[in-house]
């Protein structure tokens, strides 16, 4: 590992760096979300025809797809940090994984909730045990499990490792969600997620979807960095740099 990386692996270096990045991500998040949602509500048709006709409620898609993508992406990133922590034994890596979990859980919940509210008017049901919905629900339980397991173990380092292992084992769920898009037999479950390519989606709708997703991604950066800074201060409180920072924040 080059010395440049080692420097960034140090919490004391990362703390102020993260602090400077947070406002940038907030601006990007706000901008993307405003543009994306404006576009989604005002530049798209009020209803869709075709084989899977949709009325006004389809606009939930901008929230639903963005939240679902983030739920999967954040989980993968969380596992990435957990794996780095296990391999290189770097404290900050585990702190990053811990920082991501709550935001990931929230987006997973929003994917499920918005999906429910979309499913009721369009396909007649708030819920169905189709492969994608079920696996997304399991992903939600994995996030909660990660957080709960980490809370339950007193020793921070042990908690980090145990939760990291859980996260890694659960990674199998992400490809399951991503590829389980066809209900094999429409008589067995509601055809909520049929195979459809992004290329077939209306340009304005696609733009709004991607922009909203970008907004959620920037939001996740901001909240994760905010959370990790608090985690860093808590864990590193015995060090001089942290003590000085804590005192300085009091005056700020």
């Amino acid at each position: 590992m080059s010395s440049a990386w080692s420097k960034f692996a140090s919490p004391s270096t990362f703390y102020p760096l993260a602090g400077r990045m947070i406002p940038v991500f907030w601006v990007l998040a706000a901008g993307s979300l405003l543009v994306g949602l404006y576009w989604g509500f005002f530049e798209t048709p009020d209803q869709l025809g075709g084989s899977n006709a949709q009325k006004g409620y389809y606009r939930i898609i901008f929230l639903h797809v963005g939240a679902a993508w983030m739920s999967m992406w954040l989980y993968a990133v969380m596992v990435g940090w957990a794996a780095i922590g296990l391999v290189f034994n770097t404290r900050l890596s585990f702190m990053m994984a811990n920082a991501i979990a709550p935001t990931g859980a929230i987006f997973t919940f929003l994917a499920l909730w918005s999906g429910s509210f979309w499913g009721r008017p369009s396909w007649g049901t708030y819920w169905d045990w189709d492969p994608r919905l079920t696996s997304e629900l399991i992903l939600f339980f994995l996030y909660i499990g990660y957080i709960a397991l980490h809370s339950a173990i007193d020793d921070a380092r042990r908690a980090d490792r145990a939760a990291a292992l859980l996260a890694i084992v659960g990674l199998v769920m992400v490809p399951v969600i991503f590829w389980s898009i066809n209900c094999p037999d429409p008589n067995q479950c509601a055809a909520l997620h049929q195979r459809s390519g992004l290329g077939k989606v209306d340009g304005n709708i696609l733009f709004a979807m991607l922009t909203t997703t970008l907004g959620f991604w920037m939001y996740s950066f901001a909240t994760t960095l905010m959370r990790v800074r608090t985690i860093i201060l808590t864990r590193e409180a015995q060090t001089t740099w942290a003590a000085e920072t804590i005192q300085a924040e009091a005056r700020a």
């Binding site: 009325k55 006004g56 606009r59 939930i60 811990n98 909730w113 918005s114 007193d154 909240t223 808590t234």
Partner: protein, 64 residues
């Protein structure tokens, strides 16, 4: 202008579904940020107090 607003709010008659979904998102995402700010303030205050008392905080717990 008013008609446009009413049309927007009603979302083709599906207001409860569209706003039910987006409303929850607003609630949770704003709530998350507010929670993060509060947590940071609480932890800073606690750590400051501990430092002032001269007892270095040991075995720090993230989840209190």
């Amino acid at each position: 202008m008013n008609e446009g607003l009413m049309q927007f709010l009603s979302q083709g008659g599906y207001a409860q579904f569209v706003w039910g979904a987006y409303g929850m998102a607003l609630l949770l995402l704003v709530g998350e940020v507010i929670g993060l700010r509060r947590r940071r303030r609480t932890i800073l205050a606690r750590l400051r107090r501990l430092l002032r008392l001269g007892t270095p905080p040991d075995n720090p717990r993230e989840h209190e």
